[in-house]
């Protein structure tokens, strides 16, 4: 780790002011990803601004029927919060599918959004990587790319976003509340993370002197027909090769409204409005799901080692839609996929 100074922010305005005053500062909360990257010499902040004492730890119902989650709520607490378990079980499930309980006890809701890719070349400070050193090249495109993107990648970067929670938040149309020197603004989660394009060094549309204060979930939680299905190399404590969050609003056998987001396949949680539109109003059936999954993976492109993910994602999407329609969500403790 490089040497750095440490300071504490006393409130949100102070945090924003301190960040604005130092172009090489970073906020730290859970620290589970940032400290790891600092040990690898990938992140080299000269000042860490500790935001853990800011009053951003509540989970509250909103007047509109939704829920507002403070940015510092630990992932574990959010997963087990009664409002989330009852009204947004796909969020609880996705959180429990990621990391370990120790890490979930430390990691925060806001930090989960800002975690960086686990691309091995991004982590290896001596190989070219456009995300780490813009313009240096992408080592993954012609390297070991088994875990890399099959959708939305560019010639500069084929990294994936590692979060499970964000895949569920994407399916639910969450909103990210942020504060900055010019006040507060809200960003749709769909617009929060970016595709790599030719600026893969920018993971999100958050400005560097802005801070996440809360995540808001709208009223519709798909608590009856949902699933979070995660496929990985071992049964727990591994990043997704492919994951699928699904929420369905059913009327008998007919899908009134469908939401589907893929994880592990792109630089951001992947949603496709055309696919969801193709599901709406259809009878839930294997044919309907196969057709939607084909449409979902039509733009997919594989590299030397990850072409298998295209069919894996297609089949995982069919399975997840089936689980959601049947009201039999994937268990995150018994690993049997039914």
């Amino acid at each position: 780790m490089n040497s750095f100074q440490y300071s504490r922010a006393s409130d949100v305005a102070d945090a924003v002011r301190q960040m604005g005053a130092d172009p090489t500062a970073k906020f730290i909360a859970g620290g589970t990803n940032l400290l790891d990257l600092m040990k690898e010499d990938v992140e080299r902040p000269t000042l860490l601004i500790d935001i853990t004492r800011l009053p951003l730890r509540s989970v509250e119902a909103t007047p509109g029927g939704g829920v507002r989650i403070g940015a510092l709520v630990p992932n574990s607490d959010l997963s087990y919060h009664p409002l989330i378990e009852q009204r947004y079980p796909v969020v609880s499930s996705a959180i429990r599918a990621g990391a370990s309980q120790q890490l979930r006890n430390m990691a925060t809701t806001g930090g989960n959004l800002l975690q960086r890719t686990r691309c091995a070349y991004f982590y290896d400070a001596v190989t070219p990587c456009n995300k780490r050193v813009p313009g240096s090249g992408c080592s993954a495109i012609n390297g070991i790319n088994r875990g890399h993107a099959i959708l939305g990648m560019s010639d500069s970067c084929i990294a994936t976003h590692p979060s499970d929670m964000c895949v569920a938040l994407a399916a639910l149309d969450a909103t990210v509340h942020v504060a900055g020197p010019n006040g507060e603004r809200a960003i749709d989660l769909a617009d929060f993370h970016r595709l790599p394009g030719d600026t893969p060094e920018r993971d999100t549309n958050l400005d560097r002197d802005e801070i996440i204060t809360a995540i808001e979930l709208p009223a519709r939680g798909f608590a009856k027909n949902y699933t979070y299905l995660k496929i990985r190399d071992r049964l727990s404590y591994a990043f997704a090769l492919v994951s699928v969050a699904v929420g369905l609003e059913m009327d008998g056998d007919t899908i009134r409204q469908a939401r589907l987001a893929l994880g592990g396949v792109a630089h951001k949680p992947w949603r496709d409005s055309e696919v969801e539109a193709a599901l709406n109003g259809q009878v839930a059936s294997p044919e309907t799901f196969e057709r939607a999954a084909d449409l979902l993976l039509r733009p997919a492109k594989g590299f030397a080692h990850n072409t298998f993910k295209i069919d894996l994602a297609r089949r995982a999407a069919v399975r997840a839609l089936t689980q959601a329609a049947n009201g039999t969500p994937q268990s995150q403790s018994s690993k049997k996929i039914v």
Binding site: Y6, S100, S236
Partner: protein, 169 residues
């Protein structure tokens, strides 16, 4: 001072007050000192192990304010005022903690390197109260790797300790 920039300047050391295994401690540390290094190198509590140092193995697991965390990914300056419990703080003077006894009874380790982290993690798991079945214990213990693969015996030991501790409360 000539040409001193902030990169060249040694950061100020910081004072941290902690309660470790029931004893108040005052430390003077550089900002980058992890809780793990503070416990091992500053306080001489070497029961907590450094395995991967990247939050991937769980050997460094301790309880902070009753919750299990990876001490390798925690800066001690951020834990000012916290109560920390390590493997050294679980037993009472004459009695092993029920988890320590259960790990012996079930032969739940071979080399023993992961064991302090396993036991602290299991203490956190029991306090959380979410794991009931074997599947749930395995899932909620997945942050603790055991390269000797004592996993079945670790699950059995945790179940025994759960029963013993439920009987006492």
């Amino acid at each position: 001072m000539s040409q001193k920039n902030k990169y060249a300047q040694a950061p100020n050391k910081l004072s941290v007050a902690l309660i470790v295994n029931g004893t108040a401690q005052q430390l003077i540390v550089a900002p980058w000192t992890t809780l793990l290094d503070a416990l091992r190198d500053h306080l001489g509590l070497t029961g907590t192990k450094k395995g991967c140092d990247h939050g991937q193995c769980g050997a460094c697991t301790v309880l902070v304010d009753g919750r299990r965390v990876n001490s390798c990914l925690s800066l001690v300056v951020m834990r000012s005022g916290a109560e920390v419990t390590t493997i050294e703080g679980l037993a009472t003077r004459d009695n092993l903690h029920p988890l320590q006894q259960a790990f012996i009874d079930h032969d739940a380790f071979q080399c023993g390197y992961c064991t302090p982290g396993q036991i602290c993690s299991a203490a956190g798991l029991i306090a959380e109260g979410k794991a009931k079945s074997d599947d749930e214990i395995r899932e909620l213990m997945s942050g603790n790797l055991c390269r000797c693969a004592a996993y079945p015996n670790i699950v059995a030991a945790i179940k025994q300790a759960m029963t013993v501790m439920a009987g006492k409360s």
